[in-house]
């Protein structure tokens, strides 16, 4: 468990101190110490541009979308659909018909399970996931299996936390109806080389869903280059609002899929005998959407694009390399997940100090990290630990914050070790 990721080629640096001033919450003082927010894999923070976009919308333009002919409704609709176009461009979807707004990654996966899977999977069919998955990419499939009689298959991982490609390929069978994989592991940070997995599945005509919740905030994602069929991600992990996310779907598949929820906005005409469903993407967006949150998500996309996803990835990789070096100095600290290609996530345990105690002691030092099972209990079981501590970095984090994390870990060792 010693392989540390190598630094990538440098890209023009970001001015992190200037960036930090964009995030009001980073000025917080916690228990008398400056906040070191290292829990970005759970949820990132918002820049003022996102907060302002949402406030401005509420203060000047709020009305329901896709409905009235009055000015405000038209403005709200333009802002809302403008955000859809921003997201389309951001992930390089072919058309805005392929960009469906949902509550988050979890809802996106559930939508695919229930709309795509439920109507076409049956007894004996197989859904293939990996051992790395977040519960959001496990439980919806288990529920679908209960409903349809399909079987859930799980590709194993290696000790370093990488999905075993050969084992995965061996599990692809004529009965495999869908592959659903994390693009980046939330618990360990492993970047899954998904293109290889997608190619293997699609060569056999098997559609692929990617859980991109941890990937989209940290790297350039191009759904056409990936050639996946579905891609799910959340706003709140990419500096946008919570409660909004995106399901990208290949248009040909989305067209064939029945609506998931019925109601307003997803219809063209309703009588008591029959309803004609709306066109894509509205067919999957029943009810008044989270308008301000979608607009906020569009502002988050603008913000990230302005910084540049390549530069973001480079800054975060630098933080990861530094954190690995500093944490390796701490006696009794064990890294959990040591894949060579990782997002800026470090999962670890500290001998004789339970992660939950670490969480409290670090908080007292102003350092916010996640402790627990990270909604990935099978990953914890794989490593035989009840929980880990996880520090996860964003482009607005600094080496000084990693130093504070290390100092706080020494405090924990002295207190309980």
């Amino acid at each position: 468990m010693s392989a540390l990721p190598a630094a990538r080629a440098p890209v023009a640096a970001l001015d992190v101190e200037a960036i930090r001033r964009d995030f009001p919450v980073l000025e917080r003082v916690i228990h008398g110490r400056p906040l070191s927010y290292l829990d970005n894999a759970a949820s990132s923070q918002r820049p003022r541009a996102v907060i302002d976009a949402m406030s401005r919308y509420y203060e000047t333009s709020h009305a329901n979308v896709h409905r009235g002919v009055h000015t405000l409704s038209q403005e709200a609709t333009d802002l809302f659909e403008g955000a859809r176009e921003k997201v389309r461009r951001f992930i390089n979807a072919r058309s805005t018909r392929e960009v469906i707004f949902v509550r988050g990654t979890t809802e996106a996966v559930n939508l695919v399970a229930q709309s795509f899977g439920r109507s076409r999977f049956g007894a004996g069919d197989e859904i293939l996931i990996s051992w790395l998955e977040h519960h959001a990419n496990i439980v919806p499939w288990q529920m679908l299996c209960q409903q349809t009689g399909a079987t859930l298959k799980v590709a194993p991982i290696t000790q370093s936390g990488e999905v075993d490609f050969d084992a995965f390929a061996a599990l692809l069978s004529p009965r495999t109806r869908l592959v659903a994989l994390a693009h980046v592991s939330n618990a360990l940070g492993t970047i899954v080389p998904v293109q290889r997995f997608i190619r293997a599945a699609r060569e056999r005509g098997i559609p692929v869903l990617l859980d991109g919740a941890q990937a989209v905030p940290h790297m350039k994602v191009d759904v056409q280059a990936l050639d996946c069929d579905f891609y799910a991600f959340s706003g709140h992990k990419m500096c946008g609002p919570a409660g909004v996310g995106v399901l990208y779907g290949r248009e040909a598949l989305l067209r064939e899929m029945p609506p998931w929820q019925g109601g307003g906005d997803m219809i063209l005409a309703v009588t008591f005998e029959k309803t004609i469903f709306n066109e894509l993407p509205y067919k999957f967006e029943a009810g008044t959407p989270a308008i301000a949150d979608v607009i906020g998500l569009g502002a988050a996309v603008d913000y990230l694009e302005e910084l540049g996803m390549d530069r973001i990835a480079a800054v975060e990789n630098g933080l990861l390399v530094y954190a690995n070096e500093r944490l390796a100095e701490i006696p009794g600290l064990h890294f959990v997940g040591t894949a060579p290609d990782k997002a800026a996530v470090v999962s670890f345990t500290l001998e004789r100090v339970h992660p939950h105690d670490l969480g409290t002691i670090l908080d007292n030092e102003g350092v916010a990290i996640r402790t627990g099972h990270h909604c990935a209990m099978p990953v914890m079981d794989f490593y035989g630990v009840p929980a880990t501590a996880r520090a996860s970095f964003a482009f607005y984090n600094t080496r000084a914050e990693i130093d504070r994390l290390v100092d706080a870990l020494h405090v924990a060792r002295e207190m309980l070790g």
């Binding site: 992660p355 409290t360 009840p386």
Partner: protein
């Protein structure tokens, strides 16, 4: 907030050296406690002599607060009647959750060391898990979760 109020010497000691940390193979009652938020898992074993708790122990894994609390629990309820143990549970519940707890802390002995937990709401479930588990064992439930 002073962490020393949470991790008092008694707690640190009972975490490092938990008392009665063993299985009772011929236990009359046992129950599993689980705190899914942090992954704490405890099993509490009880050997009864009529209405009296002749022996009590625990094993499992958890954070310092949950291990120390369970260790202190075994020391404090051994030899007590079921009714007395339940009375103690009720006092501990108040101590851990209520600012206006009507509890005579000195009478609780070492258990009073857990009074600092109240100031850390995220940790109250850690301290109370063993008590809920003991209560479940005494009421012949086999599983309890604090979520």
């Amino acid at each position: 907030m002073d962490l020393k109020d949470l991790y008092r010497d008694v707690i640190v000691d009972h975490n490092r050296h938990p008392r009665n940390f063993r299985e009772i193979p011929d236990a009359d009652r046992r129950a599993d406690g689980f705190n899914p938020l942090c992954g704490d898992k405890l099993t509490v074993f009880v050997k009864l002599d009529g209405e009296r708790i002749a022996d009590v122990s625990f094993n499992g894994s958890g954070c310092a607060i949950s291990v120390a609390s369970a260790s202190l629990l075994t020391e404090s309820v051994k030899g007590k009647t079921i009714a007395e143990a339940e009375q103690l549970f009720s006092q501990m519940h108040q101590l851990l959750t209520r600012d206006d707890a009507d509890v005579d802390v000195p009478s609780l002995g070492k258990l009073g060391a857990l009074s600092g937990v109240r100031e850390f709401p995220a940790r109250v479930k850690c301290a109370s898990l063993c008590w809920h588990t003991l209560d479940a064992a005494l009421h012949r439930q086999e599983q309890v979760s604090t979520e």
